[in-house]
């Protein structure tokens, strides 16, 4: 048995590495899209300064001398993904500790992988499909609070949907293997679709924003998060796995 401290530290370390590598993915595949979007944003803000109303002067002043340069932000990308990775790794370790006994597998590595898959669906895929991430130049600053709240809601709903899928699949298991799988799909999909219908529709993509760039950015964002969760899952699986050979040696 491992102590909670040991499980937590493993999660933090795995999360740090997963975050660094997700940052590398984002740097290679995402930064050029962010740059392209910022170029559009700047071209737009110079042409339509009247859109900003009262904020024209402070905004213009900020553009003259940004608090952090573009190079600084490129480096800050790694800081952001690393810290986010550490936070996710810690939360993952707590979830693993508290939920491990509920997961019906004798294999800790499989348990970690299953938990990561569930986390990816709930925390990444469900929010992504309802509110796809947007590059700079897309999004009305006045609705940031609404968008933040709805984003966090989809995240919680995503986790609830995964739970509903697992619960229904376990209940349906008494009717056979097909029922077990169908129950999981129904529990997940019904919860997600219901939530999507209730949550407000938000589309703030300007008519003139290039569709190709938008989706290149969104796939880069999805890839960044997929990298993070994939490495978190496999990394934690390796970190908690105990090779059978070692216990056999100890027993002998």
């Amino acid at each position: 048995m491992r102590t909670f401290g040991s499980l937590l530290v493993r999660g933090l370390i795995v999360g740090l590495f997963a975050g660094l590598l997700a940052g590398t993915f984002a740097y290679v595949l995402g930064e050029s899209r962010v740059d392209a979007a910022i170029a559009i944003e700047e071209a737009g803000s110079h042409a339509h300064t009247h859109d900003h109303g009262d904020n024209t002067e402070p905004a213009a002043a900020e553009e003259e001398e940004p608090l952090v340069s573009r190079d600084g932000q490129r480096a800050g990308l790694f800081l952001a993904t690393s810290l986010y990775g550490v936070a996710l790794g810690g939360l993952f370790a707590v979830a693993f500790t508290l939920l491990r006994r509920k997961l019906r597998t004798g294999n800790d590595a499989y348990a970690a992988l299953g938990l990561a898959a569930a986390g990816f669906v709930g925390v990444v895929l469900v929010p992504f499909l309802k509110y796809p991430p947007n590059p700079p130049a897309v999004g009305d600053p006045d609705t940031i609070t609404k968008r933040t709240v709805t984003y966090l809601l989809t995240l919680v709903i995503g986790l609830l949907a995964v739970w509903a899928g697992v619960a229904l699949s376990r209940w349906a298991a008494r009717y056979g293997e097909v029922a077990r799988l169908a129950g999981g799909v129904v529990g997940l999909v019904v919860t997600v679709v219901a939530a999507y219908l209730i949550l407000p529709r938000i589309n703030e993509v300007p008519e003139t924003f290039p569709a190709t760039l938008l989706w290149q950015f969104r796939f880069a964002s999805l890839g960044t998060q997929a990298t993070l969760w994939l490495l978190l899952g496999f990394g934690y699986a390796v970190a908690v796995d105990r090779r059978p050979s070692r216990s056999k040696v100890a027993a002998a």
């Binding site: 800050g76 986010y84 999805l222 056999k248």
Partner: protein, 65 residues
Amino acid sequence: MAAPAQSVAVPALSPKLLAAALLSVGLMLLLAYLVGFDQGAVSRSGMYLHELMHDGRHLLGVPCH
């Protein structure tokens, strides 16, 4: 110790474990908040950290300006 098929690597549930888990969740959420949403209120760095992590926020799918 021979590992039985159902052996699990986690400690048994106890009030102490739950307290530690809760504290960890709080700290991790604070850290995630710092990356995703803080605009200086927690970091006490004005907008500096917020701007520094701008690209990361966008690419991690967090809504941003």
